[in-house]
């Protein structure tokens, strides 16, 4: 079974609003990463947070990590139409292979 599960599976919001998506995982991790995938394309790395970090920022992105709850959240502030994509969390443990979650499909309504 997959390591990560995203919640919600799909999210539609108005442009300018904030979008929050969550990821839960099952085992210990070295780090957790978030990726974006535009329709029919490859994935693009957004941000990496290590197991000893609790929060990280990158532009309009804010990621939190709670290792006690084995969960992470990705917040996109002031959303834009170009943010429409699927967002995946991925965890790394030990042998450094990524294990991807099920993804959240985000739609920004202009």
């Amino acid at each position: 079974s997959q390591q990560g599960e995203e919640d919600p599976q799909a999210l539609s919001i108005q442009e300018g609003e904030n979008a929050t998506m969550n990821c839960s995982y099952k085992t210990s991790i070295n780090n957790l990463q978030w990726y974006r995938q535009n329709s029919g394309r490859g994935l693009v790395h957004l941000i990496l947070i290590r197991s000893n970090e609790r929060e990280k920022h990158s532009g309009r992105l804010r990621v939190t990590l709670d290792t006690s709850k084995k969960s992470s959240s990705l917040l996109i502030t002031a959303s834009r139409a170009a943010d429409t994509a699927s967002y995946f969390c991925a965890t790394v443990f030990g042998n450094e292979k990524l294990t991807f979650g099920t993804g959240t499909r985000l739609t920004i309504i202009p």
């Binding site: 990463q33 990726y35 029919g40 490859g42 994935l43 790395h45 995946f88 991807f100």
Partner: protein, 114 residues
């Protein structure tokens, strides 16, 4: 934009044909990966390589095979394509530097087997 390329982008082929999906990267990465992804679903690792002449099977069983004769090139081959192989195939690479786990993805090959 990552310097990792996949060809073809789209392939429609009949059952029983042999196909090779190409993947190449110009970043000098030692680690390369192949993932399979059905529409709207998660990615499943099917093959990976940590360097030349090193290949391993991933978490999802696949009838495909891979080779790594050159650092920059990691082709995937299906000897006899079947409709069940219809999917998107994503290639990725990452640096061998310690604590650098970010993967860079190619644009993918969407394979349809009739």
């Amino acid at each position: 934009e990552a310097d990792i390329y996949q060809t073809p982008r789209y392939l429609v082929i009949g059952t029983g044909k042999k196909i090779t999906l190409e993947c190449s990267q110009t970043m000098g990465h030692d680690k390369m990966y192949w993932y399979q992804q059905d529409p709207g679903m998660e990615l499943h690792l099917i093959h990976y390589s940590y360097g030349v002449n090193s290949t391993e099977k991933g978490d999802l069983s696949s009838e495909s095979t891979v080779s790594r004769i050159r650092t920059e090139h990691f082709p995937l081959t299906l000897e006899s394509a079947r409709p069940s192989h219809t999917s998107q195939y994503l290639c990725a690479s990452s640096s061998d530097r310690p604590s650098t786990d970010t993967q860079y993805f190619g644009p993918g090959t969407r394979l349809t087997v009739l």
